[in-house]
């Protein structure tokens, strides 16, 4: 008997659980302007704090 492709039982992969769509950042003034500004501000303030702390270690400022 000729074995045809269609007589081979079809093996199905178990269905993977579908992932929920990844939430997108809304295109609002808050996310486009305020949040980046906040990140930059925090970064600059942190750098200044660290510079002051290191000046203390160097003996320029006395703790």
């Amino acid at each position: 008997m000729k074995v045809t492709h269609s007589s081979v039982p079809e093996v199905r992969e178990p269905a993977r659980p579908r992932r929920a769509p990844v939430p997108r950042v809304p295109r609002t003034f808050f996310y486009e302007k305020i949040v980046p500004a906040a990140l930059i501000l925090i970064g600059v303030a942190t750098l200044l704090t660290l510079v002051v702390a290191l000046l203390g270690v160097a003996g320029v400022i006395h703790f």
Binding site: P17, R18, R19, A20, P21, V22, P23, R24, V25, P26, Y31, V35, P36, A38, L39, I42, G43, A45, T46, T49, L50, V52, A53, L54, G56, V57, G59, I61, H62, F63
Partner: protein, 242 residues
């Protein structure tokens, strides 16, 4: 009852609850960053609790605990957690953790051995934090090495915690995904900055703000963590079970 006593107690409670949440998450999911953060938050809670105890009067053991856990190493452990989250290549994070562990133990030995001078108005209630630095030897003496080490621990921790949160927040913002993680990281960075500012102000002669900065720091980091882990995308089937 001094306001700073209450603020210290509140900071201890917030960071204590936060540490339980993080360590419970580590028990359920694993992840070295959660374990290291959990250790950092236990140190946070212990130090602010010791701080509250010191508002009731002098105690050398609690002063040493406060200085070691709080002033010296807590920021470094929190920053180390973020380094574990972000640096996945090779064994860099584990090597840094090894160095931090050894350095923390060396710091503990130094703090246990450092001579303290609480007399002569160096430790006075109600606001002992105003004069805490005079209890320790000056930083230009051999015993004052603990004070110089404190700054180095804090610089490392702040770069790790705040820098890591800013980097993560910026990354999600650039990819335009997961707004909860963007905001969560902004809050974590702000909390880390609050702690760093409070610590630096304390060393520069403005220590009255320290307990407030600690409470703000713990609250902001907790809120940021909560926001960042909530709303994470899950498989649809798993969501259906919840």
């Amino acid at each position: 009852m001094p306001v700073n006593f209450l603020l210290s107690l509140l900071a201890a409670a917030v960071s204590g609850i936060f540490s339980l949440v993080v360590l419970n998450r580590y028990r359920e999911r694993g992840g070295m960053h959660l374990l290291v953060w959990g250790i950092g938050l236990v140190l946070y809670s212990l130090s602010t609790l010791a701080q509250a105890v010191l508002f009731q009067g002098w105690n050398a053991l609690f002063f040493r605990l406060w200085y070691w856990a709080g002033a010296m190493i807590v920021a470094a452990w929190l920053g180390q957690g973020t380094i574990h989250l972000l640096v996945r290549r090779g064994r860099i994070a584990m090597t840094l953790l090894g160095v931090l562990t050894v350095a923390s133990l060396v710091a503990l030995v130094l703090v246990l051995r450092v001579p303290l001078d609480p007399g002569g108005g160096n430790f006075t209630l109600p606001n002992w934090i105003s004069n805490y630095s005079k209890v320790l030897p000056p930083s230009d003496t051999p015993e004052g090495v603990v004070r110089r080490l404190t700054v180095l621990f804090n610089v490392y921790g702040t770069v790790g915690l705040v820098g890591g949160a800013i980097y993560s927040g910026w990354l999600f913002l650039r990819k335009q995904i997961l707004p909860n993680r963007v905001l969560g990281n902004v809050l974590i960075a702000a909390g880390g900055l609050s702690n760093a500012l409070g610590g630096t102000l304390a060393r520069l002669g403005g220590p009255e703000f320290l307990p407030l900065s600690q409470l703000l720091g713990a609250g902001l980091i907790f809120a940021g963590f909560w926001l960042a882990v909530s709303g994470a995308p899950q498989p649809a089937a798993q969501r259906a079970r919840v």
